[in-house]
């Protein structure tokens, strides 16, 4: 097991290198650069542009720029183009803001899709099963921001509660209890919006996985020897159906960065997705590249964790 982990760490480091090279080339070879963000500004003279290009090493060959970026990234010296703030602390602050959103979303996805999917599988062909199928397809198919706007209008009109941002303006003086409730309320709607696609997709997958397991011989045997139905479903079948979901934990982590751009934008939530979006608008290459790098690290770590977890939960799998 130890040697397996070491070997895959090595392979993943190599993959990470290629990912960072590709990302760096894509960002730098595409037209449009930081000095062109504001082309109509009359105070931008050619010498200013030259100065900016020199300061950002934009005139150096690509491999040197890559080397500078990697060096600065690992020494923690990396500064944003836009405001010369250190990149890593900036990302860390935004990460802390995104974290509650990500945590609640994940909790909602995994907490809701399992009961829904299991029930649909157990009552295959029933009204509930067909209804949840249609609802799941509908939720996968609706454009996320369209639904978000509808929900915002409905919540604001029905409950007269503000949902944009992280807290209500003017609540700073209120007691801690009210401020907490306000914060939770502002957290729940965007998390739910982010979770809806995941709930729909995952509950479908849980259903098909459960159906697959319920049809197998050991489930029939368990029923035949008189095990109570709940035990058959939740002890015998569910445990075996859970196996493939272990791998899905690996795909959770990168969702921290890519998955939240739209909803953080709609709900004015200043997290990682917003940071990435702003960096793209500003052609802030160090931030874009570092976010992408972190996403790749998270993906690779996630797949490693899921490989290891797979071996832990499934005794049939051995890595030597």
């Amino acid at each position: 097991m130890g040697s397996f982990i070491l070997r895959s760490l090595g392979q993943r480091a190599l993959l990470l290198f290629f990912v960072s090279v590709i990302a760096h080339s894509v960002v730098h070879l595409a037209p449009g650069e930081p000095s062109e963000v504001d082309p109509n500004n009359p105070r931008m003279k050619p010498e200013d542009i030259a100065r900016i290009r020199a300061a950002f090493h934009l005139d150096d060959p690509l491999y040197l720029q890559y080397a500078y970026w990697i060096r600065d990234l690992f020494t923690g010296e990396l500064k944003t183009f836009k405001d010369s703030q250190p990149v890593l602390p900036k990302i860390w602050r935004r990460f802390l803001i995104s974290l509650p959103l990500f945590f609640t979303t994940t909790l909602l996805v995994w907490g809701l899709s399992f009961p829904t999917g299991i029930q649909a599988a157990v009552r295959r062909g029933s009204l509930y099963d067909r209804g949840s199928t249609v609802v799941a397809y509908a939720l996968i198919s609706i454009p996320g921001f369209f639904l978000a706007y509808l929900i915002i209008m409905w919540v604001v009109a029905t409950f007269e509660l503000p949902v944009i941002g992280r807290r209500t303006f003017g609540m700073e003086e209120a007691s801690a209890l009210y401020r907490t409730m306000d914060g939770i309320w502002h957290l729940v709607i965007p998390s739910l919006m982010g979770a809806i696609g995941g709930i729909a997709a995952l509950s479908r997958y849980v259903r098909s996985q459960m159906l697959e397991v319920i049809g197998q011989d050991f489930v029939r045997t368990a029923r035949a020897k008189g095990v109570p139905e709940d035990d058959v479903i939740y002890r015998h079948a569910l445990r075996n159906a859970l196996l493939p979901f272990v791998t899905m934990f690996g795909f959770l982590l990168p969702g921290l960065i890519g998955g939240s751009v739209i909803f953080e934008q709609i709900f004015a939530w200043p997290g990682l997705g917003r940071l990435g979006y702003e960096a793209i608008l500003n052609r802030d290459f160090p931030v874009i590249l570092t976010l992408n790098f972190i996403a790749a690290v998270l993906t690779l770590l996630g797949t490693l964790v899921s490989d290891v977890l797979y071996a832990v939960v499934d005794p049939r799998i051995r890595y030597d």
Binding site: Y137, I140, P143, F146, V261, A295
Partner: protein, 325 residues
């Protein structure tokens, strides 16, 4: 999949099932009311896209770009005001079926134009991704054991797939689309280039299984050229899972385009897509809700239809289900 599994059902009262895979799939698909409903919507959409292309660009019956400021923000089914009729700009249907937007443009005409644009974004993006996926997947599956120096073709291709999977897809699409000059072709190509990895994996797995099967071994023994073995014998047997993911991929591409439009990186005016009509409409959600609901519901219906047909195909192509009489 070369020989449809009809061994158990040739005797008895069941009519002998059709021997072609397409006929078999169609028979199963017809029993799935959701998939058939989806198929119906898609046929309508295809008609709308073709007619839309004809009537907005070839023979201009509906002019999506005609600006009629006196008629701005009219609700659906309202007639044009008389002074506009005099200029010959009145909608061909006599009324604004879906209302007008903030520049007085006919939303019905814009939706017609957008139907073909949105659909072609979906199809071209998926076409690119399927082509790359089949090419690389087939390469890894068929020539996997070939060594290039110290590394096999299979390792090379599959590690490249792993590299591509490390990118947060939407963030990557957003970055590239934002950096490149805005154009509808860039969006198609970028979505296509970032979504082929699943197809490559499916095709590789199918090819690895097919490579050992008797009909492929026989074809090799007969001395058929490799090109013919791959494209005539193996690819047709490997496309079933690709077909499913391609159908769902079209839906995803349409959604991605609308998300890009929402962030302001989508197809730029004056070209209309359903995504950017929706994104423009969100500013008038209280004053002119039809600008928001018409494209929103249209996207929803079409994406739902693609998803339903895709899932129906997945069920119909599932060999375990197919063997059932």
């Amino acid at each position: 999949m070369a020989a449809p599994g009809d061994l158990g059902v040739t005797s008895g009262v069941e009519p002998p099932p059709s021997t072609s895979l397409a006929g078999e799939v169609w028979r199963l698909l017809r029993r799935d009311p959701l998939a058939m409903a989806g198929l119906g919507v898609l046929v309508l959409l295809l008609l709308a896209a073709v007619l839309g292309k004809l009537t907005t660009e070839v023979v201009v019956v509906f002019d999506p770009a005609a600006v009629r400021l006196p008629d701005k923000l009219l609700p659906p089914l309202s007639p044009p005001s008389p002074q506009v009729v005099a200029e010959g700009l009145a909608p061909a249907t006599g009324r604004y079926l879906f209302g007008t937007d903030d520049l007085g443009r006919d939303v019905f005409a814009r939706m017609l134009q957008g139907a073909s644009v949105s659909l072609s974004i979906g199809f071209v993006a998926v076409g690119i991704s399927v082509a790359i996926g089949i090419l690389l997947g087939g390469l890894a599956g068929f020539y996997g054991n070939l060594r290039l120096g110290f590394i096999t073709v299979d390792t090379l291709v599959m590690r490249f797939v792993d590299v591509m999977l490390c990118f947060p897809t939407f963030f990557l699409i957003l970055t590239v689309v934002a950096l490149l000059p805005p154009s509808i072709y860039n969006i198609m190509v970028v979505i296509g280039l970032t979504s082929w990895m699943g197809t490559a994996r499916f095709v590789r797995a199918e090819f690895l299984a097919l490579r050992e099967q008797d009909f492929v071994v026989a074809a090799k023994a007969l001395g058929l050229p490799e090109r013919r073995i791959i494209f005539r014998h193996m690819v047709p047997n490997a496309v079933a899972p690709v077909l499913v993911s391609a159908t769902i991929g079209v839906a995803t591409a349409i959604l991605t385009e609308s998300a890009l439009s929402f962030l302001g990186f989508g197809v730029q005016p004056p070209d209309a897509t359903w995504g950017n009509i929706l994104a423009d409409g969100k500013g008038f959600i209280f004053d002119a809700p039809w600008l928001f609901f018409v494209p929103g519901i249209a996207i929803f219906a079409v994406v739902l239809a693609f998803n339903l047909v895709g899932e129906g195909l997945r069920e119909a192509l599932n060999p375990r289900l197919r063997r059932r009489p």
